[in-house]
């Protein structure tokens, strides 16, 4: 089956057969593919963990008449999108793209596109997954992907750093990146004093407006820039992006573990119990939902089980990512996911980027101290929550936080208690329709309970 997300580029396409992902390289791309392999660029990038490795497969081509080669790339365990990344994940993805371009130029190639969707996190690092993004560099050629890079990377990062981290969500609206005139309008006046932003965003937007639909024929005919100038452009983009920063603080969860009233013993017991459940299930992958900074995700990822560690709070996810990066952790992928409004399918036919649910189901989901937020803060009836979990996982670990717990009391302090069913019995009854209860363990030293469920 041909994958819809790879329809734009005529160089080749992705398809799956018998559950294996392949990438067909079309005949028209032959010289570029050969250059990638012969020049040593492929090896350099793979050695530096910047490009997804592949093997040339000897299988029947998907479209024989136009096929040059069929590749079998290493599969990324979970496809994530820029509107789900923390600030530093996004920034690292941008810097990786530029670093790849610099290395490509040294080997006589260039990136013909700079789509943020071509970057995925693999073994903890951002890597380029589109092997067909390169083409032979011709001396004098400008960077065709410049506009795309600014829309997909520089614009969103500058808005996140200088205006509001939540503006990242605009990437969910604009599949080809945030229009530069919009970024230019939203950035504060002081951004004009940042040379990189002034050139690559403000002047860029103005230039687009000036020449919209009327290429200046004389100038365009002379559109040549030397290689040093090309490298200067990339170098300046690198410096501009390195200069953008965001400090995680002040949001909902950033300090959660510091202020929670969990005693050390109860906390350790919860950890041991979760570890015990994970050993019992022995999953191939885990989604830890509402993971905060990933403390409990690391129980699974520490055992080499690939774990998506998601939270609604960009600060918590940023902390989580920085920790995973500093420790070179390979099996954890922190992501910003709002479960009450998870990523939808976007793009052509709503199918170019999958919704969060479509990227499942997963072997084991964990919802530790999460359900009270869904049920009480978001008024979701417990049966609805059970239905959601039934869609995304086979096994489920739930930590139930009862009403008398101070964390729930906090949620109820400013509102009427309209949740008579929010009890252990209420949860068990709601889950019964979709799941079988396998284990139920009290967390000693707290009023909380851990459950292990299996989908019916």
């Amino acid at each position: 089956m041909k994958q819809i997300a790879s329809f734009r580029d005529p160089s080749g396409f992705l398809f799956t057969r018998d559950g294996i992902l392949y990438r067909q390289v079309n005949l028209e791309y032959q010289p570029h593919y050969d250059q990638l392999m012969v020049s040593g660029l492929y090896k350099t990038l793979v050695d530096k963990h910047m490009l997804i490795p592949h093997a040339e497969a000897s299988v029947a081509p998907m479209e024989k008449s136009i096929e040059y080669k069929t590749l079998q790339p290493v599969r990324v365990p979970f496809i994530s999108y820029p509107y789900e990344w923390s600030f530093s994940q996004y920034k690292d993805a941008a810097l990786t793209t530029l670093a790849i371009e610099m290395l490509a130029l040294e080997k006589g190639m260039t990136l013909k596109d700079a789509s943020v969707y071509n970057i995925q996190f693999f073994e903890g690092r951002p890597v380029l997954i589109d092997t067909l993004s390169f083409e032979i560099y011709e001396e004098g050629a400008p960077w065709i992907a410049y506009r795309q890079f600014c829309q997909h990377f520089l614009g969103p990062l500058s808005l996140m750093a200088l205006v509001d981290i939540r503006l990242q969500r605009l990437m969910r609206v604009y599949i080809d990146g945030i229009p530069l005139d919009l970024t230019s309008n939203l950035l504060p006046g002081k951004s004009h004093f940042n040379m990189g932003l002034e050139l690559h965003i403000h002047r860029h937007a103005a230039s687009q407006k000036k020449y919209a639909g009327k290429g200046d024929e004389v100038k365009v005919k002379e559109a040549k820039i030397g290689k040093m100038a090309f490298q200067g452009l990339i170098d300046n983009l690198q410096n501009t992006i390195k200069g953008l920063g965001w400090e995680p603080a002040g949001t909902e969860w950033a300090d959660y573990y510091e202020i929670t009233n969990y005693s050390k013993d109860a906390f350790d017991q919860k950890k041991n119990q979760v570890a015990d459940f994970i050993i019992q299930v022995s999953p191939t992958s885990i989604w830890d939902l509402g993971a905060n900074n990933g403390e409990f995700s690391r129980i699974g990822s520490g055992k080499g089980i690939f774990t998506v560690s998601s939270d609604i709070d960009p600060s918590a996810v940023e902390k989580n990512y920085l920790e995973s990066r500093n420790n070179h952790e390979k099996d954890i992928l922190p992501l910003v996911i709002d479960l009450t409004n998870p990523s939808p399918g976007i793009g052509w036919e709503n199918a170019e980027r999958d919704s969060f649910i479509e990227r499942g189901p997963v072997d084991l989901a964990m919802a530790l101290a999460l359900i009270h937020h869904l049920a009480i803060s978001n008024n979701l009836p417990l049966p609805k929550i059970a239905e959601f979990f039934q869609k995304i996982c086979t096994w489920l670990i739930v930590e139930f936080v009862p009403k008398q717990d101070s964390q729930v009391q906090k949620l109820l302090s400013s509102r009427k208690d309209i949740f008579p069913d929010y009890t252990e019995e209420g949860l068990e009854k709601a889950m019964q329709a979709e799941f079988k209860m396998i284990r139920k363990e009290a967390i000693i030293g707290s009023e909380r309970t851990l459950y292990l469920f299996r989908r019916k």
Binding site: P10, S11, E28, K48, K91, D92, L95, T96, L98, A99, M102, L103, K112, D113, R125, P126, E135, G140, A141, P142, W143, I144, A145, Y146, R147, Q148, C150, A161, R203, H204, S207, Q208, K209, Y211, A212, K214, G215, E217, K219, V220, E222, A223, K224, I225, G226, M228, A229, Q231, G232, L233, D235, N236, Q238, K242, G245, W246, E247, E318, L322, R325
Partner: protein, 76 residues
């Protein structure tokens, strides 16, 4: 617009499947010389420093996740 792409095609990407955008190409023309000069100075300065035995980072950018862990702490 099509007229413009035809003009651009022979000199740049005969096979460019992305529309690079006329405004984007022309801006590159405008700023390239200055950015190129700045880059040249940077490269040669590092070479000069190298001659005098000062250890410097290579100009070649490394993987950002290992090369710049402290970068996210600036501003705001």
């Amino acid at each position: 617009m099509y007229h413009f792409i035809e003009l651009l095609a022979p000199l740049a990407r005969a096979k460019a499947y992305l529309d690079p955008g006329s405004g984007s190409i022309l801006l590159q023309l405008l700023i390239a010389a200055a950015l190129g000069a700045a880059f040249a100075v940077k490269v040669y300065w590092k070479k000069i420093k190298g001659v005098f035995g000062k250890k410097e980072d290579a100009v070649e950018p490394d993987q950002p996740s290992t090369a710049e862990p402290e970068e996210s702490e600036s501003k705001k």
